[in-house]
């Protein structure tokens, strides 16, 4: 089998005695969408924030293309072509779309000054592709609609040639039309060979978009499965009860077979 794009092995992180992520291992292959599922507080976002450099793991290792990667800050993650679309979008509301898109990676003129016009031109190009209706290039993103803000956040992740994309609830705040837009984008990025981690609560979305799923409960991995091998009910059972169905590979968090666990 090919080398995984990302391999997170045995990740652990605690916050004040609470094991938010407890010996979790997941992997991601090029051109694959892996859905991360679980209740609120199951540790999905925390796991993903380790990969994006927002948190530092207590133990465990991350391999990118088979090589060990040291990700201690968002900047490190970006060096590995890991881009994240956060649930909160992580936009500076007072700045315009271009400033947000290039935040931390501004285009500069030869003298080292920020080149707003060049950034606006690039922003117009990519937004023309992602969201052709987007016209408010000079308004602070605070003045944009939910969908428009989302498209700015997505543009930011896509623009810089991401190899690994993390999407934390990308469609939670969106209408039907915009959700469809995101779904199409994911399909397109898949074709380009990106690996995508998708966090979602929407089982329907997950089955439509993901190739594999990984379910977490109480910080532990319940199991992983191909979406073709399991049913909606199987997945719900994994999320709610931690019960690993026959079609899935169980993880450390799976309920013991005799059902006497907890």
């Amino acid at each position: 089998m090919a080398t995984p794009l990302v391999e997170m092995k045995d990740m652990c992180i605690s916050f004040g005695g609470v094991r938010a992520v407890d010996h979790v291992s997941v992997d991601l292959y090029p051109g694959e969408v892996v859905g991360l599922l679980g209740h609120n507080g199951a540790g999905k976002s925390t796991l993903i924030k380790i990969l994006s450099g927002a948190y530092k793991a207590d133990s465990g290792e991350i391999l990118i293309n088979g090589d060990q990667a040291h990700i201690h800050s968002p900047r490190d993650a970006r060096h590995h072509n890991i881009e994240t679309i956060y649930q909160t979008l992580a936009l500076a509301d007072n700045l315009d779309a271009a400033s947000n898109l290039f935040l931390g990676r501004e285009l500069t003129s030869p003298l080292g000054f920020v080149d707003d016009d060049a950034m606006e031109a690039e922003t117009r190009k990519i937004m023309g592709r992602l969201n052709p209706n987007f016209k408010k290039f000079h308004a602070p993103v605070k003045a944009l609609s939910g969908g428009q803000r989302q498209s700015v956040a997505i543009a930011r992740a896509v623009y810089f040639n991401a190899k690994i994309l993390i999407m934390d609830e990308p469609t939670a705040a969106l209408g039907v039309h915009e959700t469809q837009m995101v779904a199409e984008l994911i399909q397109e990025l898949k074709k380009q060979g990106l690996g995508i981690f998708l966090i979602s609560h929407d089982i329907h979305d997950v089955f439509q978009l993901c190739d594999r799923i990984a379910v977490m409960k109480n910080g532990q991995l319940v199991g992983t499965a191909k979406t073709t091998d399991v049913t909606d009910d199987d997945v719900l059972g994994m999320i709610i009860l931690g019960k690993c169905p026959a079609g899935a590979t169980p993880g450390p968090g799976a309920l013991a077979d005799d059902g006497a666990g907890d």
Partner: protein, 429 residues
């Protein structure tokens, strides 16, 4: 376009004009308020308020607070506050005074031509270091800025006392006192040259910006709008120079200047003061700070962090070190303000800069800096400082009692913020 259609209820024609000129309506409102204020005082003082002499005095009285207010914009934009600026000013003024009256004359000899600049450099270094130290406590130790600088307010005021043993230090170096105001001005010719150079630079920037925009294929303003803007800038700059040049050096003083050079004053000769060096310093500070705010990564990160600290951090911005930088800049600007303030007095006194922290914060806030962070402009803060100073000296000229003056200033501060809140709600800005 839709992003200009958000402004409040205005007639369509008026909106088109403002939209075409792309003028900041907030700035226009402030300038309007300032002009009304000046006209009212002018009426009540029988025309004494808007004389070249008073305008000259207003500008030199504003400089010290205005310099610090530009730095306070960065501090407040990053959601912090600095209550220590007045005390920091006193400490730095004391350092500069001791350096130029005690330390350097002992090394270089009294009246050495390099003393003034070395004293300022020493002061700026001390100011930056103290500011950076406070910024380090805020950014890396996580102590709220309010507490750190409240402590600083008490500490630095009294460190100044220890440096000088509570004495007034002076007289300060003669060259040094020239950046204080009336003692050091550029003269008429140099002021005109400066004004014309400034106009040329402003027009060139306008043309360059238009060219850059059209090279990217962005919509540009109509030509008449560009011409109007160019005319307004030209008139504003040259008008300012003309007013400062129109304030003539009194005959007796002029005679002394000529006598000092061993010449006699020709009959009927008059000379204008021109632009004071302190105002020149403020203009330079304003330009540099505006460039930092708008055209550098540092400025972009300051505003991004103020708008959403988490987002800034997730974008790889080192927000802790950014805090250190912001407070270091504030400290450096306090040092420049200290140089102007002590040079204006000719001495360094213990109570120099007392209550300046409140004036500086008020200037930044009246100038549209939002305490919630993320919003503020350098020119707004300077205009805010000018409005505060005009209010105060205008009331003094009218003969309003001192307690009432402070009451009015306090009320104006609160109303200014209220108006700003209402304005932002209307425009959705």
């Amino acid at each position: 376009m839709s992003d200009t259609a958000l402004s409040g209820p205005k007639s369509p024609a008026a909106r088109n004009i403002f939209a075409a000129l792309q003028l900041d309506t907030r700035l226009l409102g402030m300038i309007g308020a300032f002009i009304v204020l000046c006209l009212v005082f002018n009426v009540f003082t029988d025309g004494r308020f808007l004389t070249p002499r008073n305008i000259f005095n207003l500008t030199i009285q504003t400089v010290s607070v205005a310099i610090m207010a530009t730095g306070m914009v960065f501090v407040i934009v990053t959601r912090h506050i600095d209550l220590s600026v007045g005390s920091l000013l006193a400490t730095v003024a004391a350092v500069m005074a001791v350096v130029q009256t005690d330390v350097l004359p002992a090394v270089l000899g009294l009246g050495h031509p390099g003393i003034w600049i070395l004293a300022i450099v020493a002061g700026v270094i001390v100011g930056v270091l103290i500011g950076a130290f406070q910024g380090w406590m805020i950014g890396y130790l996580g102590i709220p800025a309010f507490i750190v600088t409240l402590g600083g307010l008490l500490v630095w005021r009294n460190v100044a006392w220890f440096i000088t043993n509570g004495q007034t230090i002076g007289p300060l170096d003669e060259t040094f006192t020239m950046i204080g105001g009336i003692g050091g001005t550029m003269g008429e010719t140099a002021s005109w040259i400066f004004g014309i150079a400034a106009v040329a630079a402003a027009l060139w920037l306008q043309v360059a910006s238009r060219r850059r925009k059209s090279s990217h294929g962005f919509p540009v303003k109509p030509l008449w709008a560009e011409a109007t803007m160019a005319a307004i800038t030209t008139i504003a700059i040259l008008g300012f120079v003309w007013i400062l040049n129109a304030y003539e050096i009194p005959a007796a003083r002029l005679r002394r200047i000529f006598e000092a050079r061993g010449e006699t004053l020709p009959e009927g000769l008059t000379m204008g003061y021109g632009i004071p060096y302190s105002v020149l310093l403020l203009i330079i500070v304003a330009i540099v700070m505006t460039v930092v705010a708008r055209r550098t990564r540092l400025g972009r990160y300051i505003f991004a962090t103020g708008g959403n600290p988490d987002a800034a951090e997730l974008s790889g911005i080192n927000t802790r070190f950014l805090t250190v930088k912001v407070f270091a800049i504030m400290g450096g600007l306090c040092a420049l303000a200290a140089a102007v303030a002590s040079a204006r007095l000719g001495f360094s006194t213990n109570d120099i800069g007392t209550l300046d922290e409140l004036r500086v914060i008020a200037a930044a806030v009246i100038g549209g800096t939002a305490l919630a962070g993320g919003i503020g402009t350098i020119y707004g803060a300077i205009l805010g400082a000018l409005i505060m100073q005009s209010l105060q000296s205008g009331m003094a000229m009218v003969g309003v009692d001192a307690p009432l003056q402070n009451i009015v200033v306090g009320v104006v501060l609160v109303i200014a913020v209220l108006v700003d809140i209402i304005y932002r709600k209307r425009t959705g800005d």
